[in-house]
Symmetry: C3
Subunit: 316 residues, 3 copies
């Protein structure tokens, strides 16, 4: 395994292995000194052509806990603005010694393209509507660990609610959750469902009230401001009425049901209850798990042969 571009490239064994390594990383993160020398001397570049401080800082935290050096390359302050080609940028950073690129781009396929131009590893940190594989992995990690079934989601139902059509998070999660055995139900207005959704391995419902009292996980998607402004949804109040997690809907969740969201939340839009008031909310646990999953991915891609480096805690 050299790159992480698309969840579809991962076998079930690959997925289970990354979640296992994440357990070890979570143990590191609970230490008094949460730092190990596993990737000491390696240089990891975060290359974000689209702003996402949250995802970038999660990766940078993960890299530093493994003692890697981090180069932050923000497209807005870079020579990309001088007309340098993306290929030249990547080749230049590779020539400086970068061993892994963490790439966010608004266009689908850019991380795949970059992986053909460098000997370094490329990790897709979100590309267009296409994929966000570390989000999918951290969500699968969160659910399997909460339910105590580390290799399977068999018998579980996950409702993914909101703008499925434009969501890379939904695409990564649907692939991982269904391959781990879960039933996935999409809940969205028709205008926010993808074309040909009937070919996807999912069920579709048109309101939250159809699913809220009978699912194991409610996974809310962020409603992008730009969709609200476009014609994709005719009426924000109507969207909130039919699809938001309200206090009333939260009250009928099953006792064991989990509430999840990839963040950042649009409070008052897709969620009107305070998640702090929902016992099953794992929204902050997702963030914590995100660091462990990204450590696991970096470790697997760059240092997988040196498990002993994880036990030498505090000597980075």
């Amino acid at each position: 395994m050299k790159h992480l571009l698309d969840t579809h490239d991962l076998s079930i064994d690959d997925i289970v292995n990354i979640l296992d390594v994440a357990d070890r990383m979570a143990e590191v993160n609970r230490r008094q000194v949460p730092k190990v020398p596993a990737l000491k001397g390696k240089t990891i570049a975060t290359v974000f052509f689209e702003d996402s401080t949250r995802t970038r800082l999660s990766f940078e935290t993960a890299a530093r806990r493994l003692s890697a050096d981090v180069l932050t390359f923000l497209a807005s302050s870079s020579s990309v603005n001088k007309g340098e080609s993306l290929r030249d940028t990547i080749e230049t950073l590779s020539a400086m010694g970068v061993q892994a690129f963490v790439v966010r781009h608004k266009s689908s396929g850019v991380p795949l393209q970059l992986s053909q131009w460098t000997d370094a590893s490329v990790i897709n940190a979100g590309d267009g509507w296409h994929q966000h594989p570390t989000q999918g992995l951290l969500d699968a990690y969160t659910i399997t660990r909460e339910f105590g079934t580390p290799t399977s989601l068999a018998g579980r139902t996950v409702a993914i609610v909101g703008d499925i059509k434009h969501s890379r998070v939904a695409r990564s999660n649907i692939d991982l959750f269904t391959r781990l055995g879960a039933r996935v139900v999409l809940v969205a207005p028709p205008s926010l469902l993808p074309s040909h959704v009937e070919t996807w391995p999912v069920d579709v419902r048109s309101t939250m009230d159809d699913v809220i009292d009978n699912v194991d996980v409610v996974y809310l998607l962020r409603m992008q401001l730009e969709r609200m402004q476009s014609a994709s949804i005719p009426n924000l109040a109507e969207y909130t009425r039919l699809y938001a997690l309200t206090p009333e809907r939260a009250a009928v969740l099953q006792d064991h049901a989990l509430l999840m969201h990839p963040g950042p939340m649009n409070r008052g839009v897709e969620i009107t209850v305070d998640p702090a008031d929902v016992a099953g909310s794992r929204i902050l646990q997702q963030v914590t798990n995100g660091v462990s999953i990204r450590m696991a991915v970096l470790f697997t891609l760059l240092g997988g042969d040196s498990v002993s480096s994880l036990t030498a805690g505090g000597e980075a």
Copy 2:
């Protein structure tokens, strides 16, 4: 002591203790390798909603000398712009493992608010007109160390000159200096004095010439450009004539008197003499002491039980 939000929260013992720890940090900073492992594996986030490269770099230098990891969160490039609430931002960073937030905000009270949303420590790096406690501590440190009286400023007079009304630096300094025993004289035009100044434990004078030859410390405040443009001062030349430190005024300072300024200076406005020509200038010493004080604060809040980590110099 969990947070540092306001100098008023500090007892005299707290203050003297931080200045003592700063002495130890100053010793670290004089070493060939000015770095200790005291906060290794801890993550400190600088969260600046208002630009201040100077203060941010001072904190980041302090953190690195204690071997902490630093996350730089600049509001302008963050998801705060996507409408994420401040609370969600802080909770998210906490969930990633941030153990201390260093916060600058243009509104008074924001650091206090944030401290109620996180288990991490919060350090106020300046909030509105309210407080800038590490500036006050570094100034108290500078004066006590210069005068060789580490636990008291009894018998000393400090003149604070300029825009007191809008100055968080003045508020922190007045509190610390007076509680350490100094007499504080405010020198400002009436429009730049706070309402109810008569209830403050200070004297007030209306021109520099009333105080310049009889104080132990002249502390100049920065004149904010925006005040100059507003009606707060009718006439910049008049301000400079009455309140600036000119070469003539510098010449009548007592031999032992200190010149201080929190920076950055507006040369030609509040100061028309070159501080390099004033023997008592400690303006650059304040900057150097700022790193020691911020190391002392971070160490006290995050690692106060591990004094031995300061002696293991060079093994970070």
Copy 3:
């Protein structure tokens, strides 16, 4: 040697010594853990008043491989915008403990000026049309190592092609290459040659076709967009016709000839062949060598007495 401001300040012994140290750094960079504790605890500030992500990241990578701490000071987000003088900025950063400044500025002479205001070392990372000494050194390193003649370029001919007039790279390279014994030929339209070029130790030709089949190195300069827009060149197509490296011209290069460019390339302007198709291209090797040269410069200026620190690999 305290500063690196101008290649003219370096003796031949200085130059050969830096290239020798770069050989040692290149060896470090080939290690499994390319990191040494040589500059542990030193703080290096990159102070860029003009954007150059490429050069800045090269210096920052070099500093981190020597275990130095890095402060990134971008003028656009700094108190320089509040009207603080350049001198106050440098004095402030020095007072925080910065031991070396890496400075890029659009005006010639700024690094020299700064060196008079600080006890720290100053490294010129490009100033106006004046000098870019680490670029010159990495280019001299690249050519001497390729030709296996580490102390001399005697008998070699280097053609520098493009906008010589406005190029600090050309000025640094002409000085270093000629003093190492090379013959330098400038290839440019008259409008892009400096005044008084006849006093420079170079030959001048007016088209690529005069030199392409008989030189040892073709060094292409970047054509700045702003020159294209100004009257400096009347016609971009004409420029490309006479001065670009086309596939046809690349085909007549001598077998041993090298192709070099300081980057970022304007593909389709000064180069229309894909450098990946030119066997002698060393454009990415220049980038790799840039890190080694910058490590050598930082080490020589800041830690030259501690060669043993280079052998303690992996213990930073």
